[in-house]
């Protein structure tokens, strides 16, 4: 092994969190290597050209949660990142009507009133509560989750910070906060609204990516998880990364390389090298070995420790805790190349809300039934989807005059049930086709000509996402966002501050606090912890310093 194989730190996996951690470490002066199994970087924040002329954001597809502190620190716009906000969205009903969401308050009020005068008043109360909860939670995203069992000054300090924030809410709001965090989105919406279509439109954000139904307690928090982001300071807004989600990873990659980092693609980690309880490097599938005293895994916690780490290096309790970590995949995707913009007969021609997120769910019960299918190992017979046509705003996604549509589908199981057997391998050409047909049938409710305008469709199931990206069971958050897996419980109680039982080894992916959603927060937080632990916190840049 030559000297060139020695690094200060190695990051396993070039997802957006791995790259974010790598950027901060390289900018602090470390010699950093990123290794990636695929021939491209980005993990699940990726743009791929799978049909000539079209670009698919074939996993994550919209952007809001990416922390602006990180965007600023790493100067991502300088490396080509541009996030274009989209406005509005709509849910189409079977009877030919729709509910449109608009960001203009007066227009939205008129639209809600069209469905229910009561709900127009309720909406203001609803959005006040949600914004208040967002304000409460945002400061925690870029901080460590304190360990409540620890008496270390730093953990106590973080706990005090939490108490101070909670105190700042005031007596009434504190009680409401406790309640909100433990409620289901269905119950929360039922309290506010009477119109089914409006409720269904909002509820989607409470279940996207989860293994929960709209009436499962805890889904109000998931809604928050999808509302707490911003685009250019507009809280709750979502946008498209110009050129697809890969633009985020590519900007991070460029920033990293400019800071002197090295990326090696095309061969994944076979195993983490551990000697005497201390990590020493990685061995790749192609036989290459690289050495460093610090190794950060961007893979989810299950993949990292159950597939690529010798079990003899890990305490039994830790392995047990990793095994029981819940990472059930629940969503699939269709990426569709369109010959022309489909017609939406219900909507006024050229309505601006068609440039936003479109749905066809009509009631909370319909969404709950979709969840019941998933529990039994079936894809939802009447699925929920989050459909967007980004090429209307970002012309780089498709050839001139053509369009690209992304359809996120909830729910689709990882271990599909066929003939009484549940297994990921049950996803084959036939079952995938049947799944896609089911989604197309429902898409026709909004745009009846969708099939005739389709020139190519990529069908992605949780199984495919696992195979390609490496996310265990195709879970988009690298682990479910339930309370037993949030804050100091994420991913494993006692190892919730990016550290692991192996000295020098870290978790930097969204299996760690605060979880997934293309936030880049776990990567940045982990880099901060690494630098602190090696006494280089003086070299930190930006928010971390």
């Amino acid at each position: 092994m030559g000297q060139h194989d020695r690094y200060d730190a190695i990051v396993a996996g070039a997802g957006h969190n791995g790259l974010t951690a790598a950027c901060y470490l390289a900018k602090a002066g470390l010699k950093v290597l990123v290794v990636e199994k695929n021939d491209w970087i980005g993990g699940a924040a990726v743009s791929r050209s799978l049909h000539e002329g079209w670009t698919y954001s074939n996993c994550s597809y919209v952007c809001s949660l990416l922390r602006r502190e990180i965007v600023r620190d790493l100067e991502l716009p300088k490396y080509g990142l541009q996030v274009i906000p989209y406005e509005g969205g709509a849910s189409f009903s079977r009877d030919g009507d729709y509910f449109a969401y608009m960001s203009d308050h007066d227009a939205l009020r008129r639209e809600i009133s069209r469905h229910s005068a009561h709900d127009a008043d309720a909406y203001d109360r609803f959005s006040q509560t949600v914004i208040r909860q967002c304000r409460f939670i945002r400061p925690f995203l870029l901080r460590n989750a304190p360990d409540p069992t620890s008496l270390k000054p730093r953990d106590i300090g973080e706990l005090l910070f939490l108490i101070r924030q909670a105190h700042g809410l005031g007596k009434k709001e504190l009680g409401e906060t406790l309640r909100f965090w433990s409620m289901s989105i269905g119950d929360f919406l039922d309290e506010h609204f009477e119109n089914d279509l409006i409720k269904a439109h909002i509820a989607g954000a409470g279940i996207i990516g989860t293994g929960l139904g709209v009436y499962s307690p805890g889904t109000a928090y998931v809604l928050l998880h999808h509302y707490m982001g911003d685009v250019d300071g507009a809280i709750g807004a979502w946008g498209f990364a110009r050129g697809g989600m890969g633009a985020i990873s590519n900007a991070l990659g460029a920033c990293f390389e400019e800071a002197g980092g090295t990326i090696v693609t095309g061969s994944g980690v076979d195993r983490f090298l551990v000697d005497n309880g201390k990590v020493t490097g990685v061995a790749l599938d192609n036989g290459d070995e690289y050495h460093a005293p610090i190794v950060a895994s961007n893979m989810d916690v299950k993949r990292t420790f159950l597939q690529h780490t010798g079990q003899q290096h890990l305490p039994g309790d830790f392995v047990k805790a990793v095994k029981r970590f819940k990472i059930r995949g629940s969503s699939g995707k269709l990426n569709i190349a369109l010959d022309a913009l489909p017609e939406f007969p219900a909507a006024p021609k050229g309505a601006p809300f068609l440039r936003g997120d479109l749905h066809c769910a009509e009631s909370l019960n319909e969404l709950e039934r979709a969840y019941d299918d998933w529990k039994e190992g079936r894809w939802s017979q009447n699925p929920y989807f989050d459909m967007l046509i980004p090429s209307q705003i970002d012309p780089t996604m498709a050839p001139p005059g053509k369009h690209m549509m992304t359809v996120f589908v909830q729910y689709a199981p990882y271990d599909l049930e066929v003939g009484g057997v549940r297994a990921g391998t049950n996803w084959n050409g036939q079952t995938r086709g049947a799944f896609a047909d089911c989604v197309f049938d429902k898409l026709e409710q909004a745009c009846p000509d969708i099939r005739s305008k389709t020139v190519h469709a990529e069908i992605r199931t949780p199984w495919d996402i696992e195979q390609e990206v490496g996310l265990t069971e195709g879970n988009i958050f690298q682990g479910e966002l339930t309370f037993d897996q949030l804050l100091f419980n994420r991913p494993v109680p006692g190892y919730a501050q990016y550290d692991t039982p192996i000295d020098g080894m870290y978790i930097v992916g969204s299996s760690a606090h605060p979880g997934g959603g293309v936030m880049a927060a776990p990567g940045a937080n982990a880099a901060r912890e690494i630098l602190r632990n090696i006494g280089r916190s003086g070299n930190m840049t930006g928010y971390a310093a």
């Binding site: 504190l174 039922d190 499962s216 307690p217 805890g218 419980n489």
Partner: protein, 523 residues
């Protein structure tokens, strides 16, 4: 102003109303309990079926009667006699491979050790440890946040929490971490992390969602499971039927000097200057008292006093309380003892559970969500006449079944035909485990959640008056800002299951509210 007739008036003689009355009367207060029905006891009454057979009308077993209540009220003493028998739990399996839980330990119905006994033991050790810890909170008013975190009052209450925190620490890091991990988690995952899915796992899942509008996959069901395990998780059969429990509470109240008027319905609570002053009965009679306690559901309690005494937020919170009952009751009179293949006579007299797997329990709840009748419900049955021949006689038996996952808001409403469908689904399910049982039935009584509401006033027919969910416990039970039993006008208190700590025949809500009232210096 004339002197009030009573120190305190209690509306409703459910066991909590009686516990509140007994607690106050024992402190020398003059108390009058007013009950709409002809007999006291609420859900803990007996009903008499044809031929003089005594059956538990609604509740049929004691799970969580709190030792403090038992001791303070003297339940089981000559003053208020109560005799109980501890029953093993039997989780039935269609293949005859029944699981038995006896004193918290798992075995098989044929006497062999259960292959998962060790894993089950360890899980029960943890859960009962955690349940005991949480149980500390059940005998006091819950901590309130009303003064904000910095106020002195809140700090004193937080001292109680600090004790809990200290006990948490004392468990050791490992158990403390596990506690904080599972506290808000779902029963399905917790159970299946350590057990194979089958009757043993199913029994725990059924206990986790008993009476609740939830399936075992719903987050928060580990908490309800721990609630169930508050007194160790056993079940006791009262000799003489559940009515004996009601009678014991009633005797305790009377022995302490409380007066109980049955067959009198309260129309509204009298207030003077936003202060409770007594009650007016349906027949117009006014009874004055310095304090009024209501054993009704929270919304009904609010309506009795008049919504004008509450702020808009409080009214909204009451209206949005989750209280959709899911437990129905079916009593069957049998002309002979049924046969459950694989069960000894001793086990047949036990607490019989039809919950052959956690998935079964989850599936049973699916239709409930949409107001549909479950085809394969979760059932908890007991045949009291096997333990206590007095209740039936003549070779006849009575099977009492609490049928779970039955929606209060059934699509199309609860009419006689719907109750008939419920009886049919119950019998068809029982038939799988006790072939031939249908042919033995000579009489049946079917109470839907709607019937239970009509008979007892429990909102939604809900076991706990309001769902035990993390969003409706402790500081936010029955609602944010109303957690200290004080309920609107000064001197008006909520003493039923809708208040902290919740339902089951524990007697705690009644006792705690009475103590809070005394502490507040209302009398």
């Amino acid at each position: 102003m004339t002197t009030p007739t009573y120190d305190a008036i209690v509306i409703g003689a459910g066991h909590n109303g009686l516990a509140a009355a007994a607690t106050l009367a024992r402190k020398g207060k003059s108390v009058c309990v007013i009950e709409r029905n002809a007999t006291a006891g609420g859900m803990a009454r007996n009903t008499t079926l044809a031929g003089g057979i005594k059956a538990p009308e609604i509740a049929h077993l004691l799970y969580n009667l709190h030792p403090k209540v038992k001791k303070e009220l003297g339940l089981g003493s000559p003053r208020a006699p109560l005799e109980v028998r501890e029953l093993p739990a039997v989780s039935l399996s269609e293949d005859g491979y029944h699981a038995v839980i006896r004193s918290g330990r798992a075995e098989l119905a044929d006497g062999r050790p259960h292959p998962e006994a060790a894993a089950f033991d360890e899980m029960m050790r943890r859960l009962t440890l955690f349940a005991g810890l949480l149980g500390q909170l059940s005998t006091k008013s819950p901590p309130s946040l009303e003064g904000g975190l910095a106020s002195l009052g809140t700090l004193t209450e937080l001292a109680g929490l600090a004790k809990l925190g200290l006990d948490l620490k004392r468990m050791g890091k490992k158990d403390m971490r596990e506690f904080l991990r599972v506290l808000l988690s779902n029963a399905y995952d917790l159970i299946l992390d350590d057990l194979e899915d089958g009757p043993l796992a199913g029994a725990l899942a059924a206990d986790a969602v008993r009476g609740a509008f939830a399936g075992p996959r719903s987050p928060g069901t580990v908490f309800t499971l721990m609630y169930r395990l508050g007194q160790g998780g056993g079940a006791q059969l009262p000799m003489g039927g559940m009515g004996a429990v009601a009678a014991a509470f009633e005797a305790a109240a009377r022995a302490a000097g409380a007066e109980i008027r049955t067959g009198a319905s309260v129309a509204r609570v009298l207030t003077e200057n936003d202060r409770a002053a007594g009650v007016v009965l349906e027949d117009g009679t006014e009874i004055s008292g310095k304090a009024v306690l209501s054993n009704t559901g929270p919304m009904a309690a609010m309506m009795l006093a008049g919504a004008e005494h509450y702020d808009v937020e409080a009214v909204r919170r009451m209206r949005n309380q989750r209280c959709k009952g899911t437990a129905a009751k079916v009593n069957l009179v049998l002309n002979a003892a049924p046969v459950f293949p694989g069960l000894s006579p001793e086990l047949m007299a036990g607490r019989l559970l039809i919950a052959p797997s956690t998935s079964y329990v989850e599936r049973a709840f699916n239709p409930t969500k949409y107001g549909e009748m479950p085809a394969n419900p979760v059932i908890e049955a007991v045949i009291p006449s096997l333990t206590d021949p007095e209740v039936a006689g003549g070779g006849r038996h009575v099977l009492s079944a609490v049928v779970g996952s039955v929606p209060y808001g059934l699509e199309g409403g609860w009419d006689a035909a719907a109750r008939e469908r419920l009886a049919a689904a119950t019998l068809a399910t029982l038939e799988k485990y006790a072939p031939g049982i249908s042919a033995l039935v000579t009489e049946r009584q079917v109470l839907s959640p709607a019937c239970i509401e009509a008979r007892t006033g429990a909102p939604g027919g809900h076991w706990h008056h309001a769902e035990i969910g993390v969003d409706q416990i402790l500081t936010v039970r029955p609602a944010n800002g109303m957690a200290h039993y004080r309920f609107g006008p000064e001197g008006y208190y909520l003493c039923g299951a809708g208040a902290h700590p919740g339902g089951d025949v524990t007697g705690l809500a009644g006792r705690n509210s009475a103590l809070q009232l005394l502490k507040d210096g209302v009398l």
